[in-house]
Symmetry: C2
Subunit: 554 residues, 2 copies
């Protein structure tokens, strides 16, 4: 008997399945932080709920608790002073294994129904989540609401839809009758049981704690796996809230709430490594550094490991019909959340002889100046600037920004922007540095943060070749090309396919290269070093379960 939550959410699931098959525009969770949608007092209530969490232990009861941990600081300049249960891994894993047996025994309908109920509850808490994400990641409020709330929920739903689609390819039973000429046919009844892999470990990152964690979290739940969520020490709150809601829904649905647990830990200790190598962990979903991601891929041999790591995103500017639209679009792309997005562009290849535009030829310097002017215009008003830029999430990014100033010609220095509401917030405008095409040591690596390298090249062909080589060597999640020539766009398409990177052509309006829409855009491809999997395709879910067959003669 399936859980009644399945019928409650069946239409939503059907709509989501239809959406992933078409990949046109679709969204289940409204992205506008409007009182008309979320309730007139939703913002105040969410803010109050966030504030009520501060300066005290988080009200989450976990098994095998041996203390408290937590030292999050808001990038807007204050300590959250929230502590979370600290768990002892040995007994925790025993408890989760026991809970996992119960979840395994449920059916795909129940896995989907419970997953969708969790997503619906998360949606209702989107304002509270927005403040939690804002004050752990440094995102501006609007982005924290959208990327931390409805967009992350959409990504979770998308994973459930893929899981459901794959599970539905497996018939539950089959009657097999093989003719034997004149003799009686052979007859068997067959049962095909979907068996989850075991326990999935979801390792969250510091910049998009929910958006990057929900695909793995919900892909696991929807295929019957228990989930241990290990947040980044600087962004625990959004995932603690997620785990709290998941546990409430599980308990209400009659399940052991330890099917979803949280392992918070101090910065720089070896909890993640210890956990990831445990034999009980059969799946790992990771977002973070290349170093940690590659370590997991190499060492966590007992598990199937999905990683999103660092990458270098690139822009090739060859020519354009809309120079103003181009620089406006690019200025926003590099400014949004201070470039602290795995999809933000870093390397800009521009012909040293300049580019053709609808308004005539522009020199290299004019193109760069156009970009700088556009940045200044976009970020000229501090009130608006802080909403776009958010705050710098970590001191490492501030250090990186400072070092990058010395790498080449300083085209546009980074500036500090005063935040009227949070005077201690670390708000910085993007830095633009001009390098040479030969400066491989500098631009063939991810410089995470508001750092833009403009690189003069001989020709568009050289630009494309540099982009190809960089993507294959360093990995890339996004690639933007501006050209009015079919031949250049086609060549970029070839290179994108070879380097396994998503391509955006001539974005000049309200779509930005760093944005990735659930149900339509694949995030990451698994085809270059930036990620070994895509969010979300069939490959992301198909390995999270096995099929065990039973044959019984009729």
């Amino acid at each position: 008997m399936s859980n009644p939550l399945f019928s409650t959410h069946e239409q939503l699931l059907k709509d989501a399945v239809a959406a992933i098959e078409k990949r046109t525009y679709w969204s289940a969770f409204p992205e506008i932080p409007s009182g008309k949608i979320y309730g007139e007092t939703a913002n105040e209530n969410g803010k109050a709920a966030f504030e009520s969490r501060l300066h005290q232990p988080y009200p989450l009861t976990l098994p095998s608790t041996v203390g408290q941990t937590g030292s999050e600081r808001s990038p807007y300049g204050f300590a959250l002073e929230i502590s979370y249960p600290k768990v002892d891994l040995d007994p925790l894993l025993k408890t989760v294994l026991a809970a996992q047996k119960q979840w395994r025994a449920a059916d795909p309908e129940t896995w989907a129904g419970v997953s969708l109920e969790i997503l619906q509850r998360l949606n209702r808490r989107s304002f509270e989540m927005a403040y939690a994400v804002m004050h752990t990641t440094g995102q501006g409020f609007m982005m924290a609401f959208q990327a931390g709330g409805p967009h992350a929920q959409d990504r979770g739903l998308e994973a459930v839809a893929y899981a459901w689609t794959e599970l539905n390819h497996v018939p539950k039973t089959a009657y097999w009758e093989k003719p034997q000429g004149k003799n009686e046919p052979l007859k068997l009844n067959k049962q095909f049981k979907v068996v989850p892999r075991g326990i999935g470990l979801v390792i969250g990152c510091s910049t998009f704690p929910t958006w990057n964690a929900y695909p793995g979290l919900f892909a696991n739940l929807a295929t019957g796996n228990a989930v241990i969520v290990k947040p980044h020490p600087s962004a625990i709150l959004p995932l603690a809230l997620t785990v709290e809601i998941a546990r409430q829904v599980l308990a209400e649905a009659g399940f052991d709430q330890n099917i979803v647990t949280l392992v918070a830990h101090e910065p720089d200790n070896d909890t993640p490594q210890k956990l990831a190598l445990r034999p009980e962990i059969k799946i790992v979903d990771f977002t973070g550094s290349t170093k940690n991601g590659e370590w997991l891929e190499r060492q966590a041999r007992q598990a199937t490991v999905y990683t999103e790591k660092a990458g270098v995103n690139q822009v090739v500017i060859d020519s354009t019909n809309d120079f103003a639209g181009m620089v406006k679009n690019l200025a926003f792309s590099v400014s949004l959340y201070s470039g602290q997005m795995c999809t933000a562009p870093q390397n800009f290849y521009i012909p040293k002889n300049g580019v053709e535009t609808a308004d005539g030829h522009l020199s290299f310097d004019q193109v760069v100046q156009g970009l700088v002017d556009s940045l200044n215009k976009l970020l000229g008003d501090p009130g608006r600037a802080v909403e776009i830029l958010g705050a710098i999430q970590s001191d490492a990014t501030l250090d990186r920004l400072e070092s990058a100033r010395k790498l080449g010609k300083l085209v546009c220095d980074t500036k500090t922007v005063a935040h009227s509401q949070f005077p201690d917030a670390a708000v910085r405008t993007p830095l633009v540095v001009q390098l040479a095409a030969s400066d491989h040591d500098y631009y063939l690596q991810e410089c995470f943060g508001p750092i833009v390298f403009v690189i003069p090249v001989d020709t568009a062909e050289q630009a494309l070749e540099l982009a190809r080589m960089t993507s294959l060597r360093c990995g890339s999640l996004t690639f933007a090309v501006y050209s009015t020539k079919e031949s250049v766009l086609n060549a970029a398409g070839e290179i994108a396919a070879e380097a396994g990177v998503s391509l955006s052509c001539n974005l000049t309006g309200g779509v930005y290269v760093n944005q990735s829409a659930a149900f339509s855009d694949y995030h990451g491809t698994g085809a270059n070093p930036a990620a070994n999997a895509s969010l979300t395709d069939s490959a992301f879910v198909a390995n999270r379960f096995r099929i065990i067959e039973t044959r019984i003669p009729v």
Copy 2:
């Protein structure tokens, strides 16, 4: 423009896709080696074609050939004396990379159409293939025909159907329009390009060179990957024939025939290791020993690795309504191809106090004697025995058989059977040795060949627990249980799910535990150490390609 071969075979593909969704009985390629189906002279022609290959170089022209290799011996007692092109890996890989670009540029319809044409041509050569398989593996003719020909072709077709299903979840284009309230909606055209991983390496085994290789081979081709086939040095001929046909079809379809190549090599050299670690190899499909399979999983980090390794298959006898049917069924299962099947049962757990049958209680010794009597009856006539047993494929198996005689109480010794047509064939009847439940050193490992261990246990529960522990530790592909009690069958079902092994209950008729039917039975589960993947499910194909997106504003 898709290749016209797609429309030629479109109905076959549709039927295969329908079959994998239902997993009832279906087969595309007739398994009866009948002149009425394959042509009145098909057998003579096939035999003549096989014989015409002997004692000379195989007529296959490969790029980068630097010599000849090949030292196959028929297990029926003669040397084939066929030599094959020996290739230089460095230039070969360059050539294959170039060919791969052309294949990548084709579309899913073309990949499927060409794959299906290869399968159809292989089907027409099934008699020739039967002799090639018989005289490399030692299989009896009927099995060599079925498992080497139509059943292998069905497994290949099944992989194409799974690949096609997964590729069809990816829309080729999408128009994305996102509402913006009162403003103009955002509008993008999106293209989703399926991009294969690169070059797939398919490593064949010595006992089922085609059956175990075709799923990986055709899953790769159908997802746009080039394929290098590396046969086992003792079973090159069946895969040389396969590669020859594939190259003919590719050339006729206007493609570079180096999309499929063969790397034959001397026994015990390091060609497989060298090849498997090449950066150009992105997928490895392997069937063989646990040692080599685990080495690949650990070392071939640049590739996605699918392995089928050793396992210990088990039978639990608790009680039966049809003792005669049970022992007849089991006797055949252990005799077929002298137990040289990865699915053949090895460990038989039988209560020391005996079992209940429809004819009353039988003691442990009576149960074992029943099995021995059934073996003697099945194999009493040498003419019939040699057809069932085939010949022992390798000297290592003969040595293992000899050693196993000394492991415990010799219940039924192995006997040599004279083959009237091939006096030098190594034909042996199964050995039955009684061990103790404590003899873990002996029965917790695969003893490949006609070796049966009967193991007295206290209770059915102990038997099931031993089976569980053995499967989890050593891996298993099959698990058979005989019981008239619901409770025992249910407990076996639980254990099968936990240990990730396919379960067969009370097989007493013409279906045997070691048989696995394409389009219905999953072969291997990926959920225990015997295999990290299943033939064939979505997970087997979904990781063989990536999706690269392009976004262009409207």
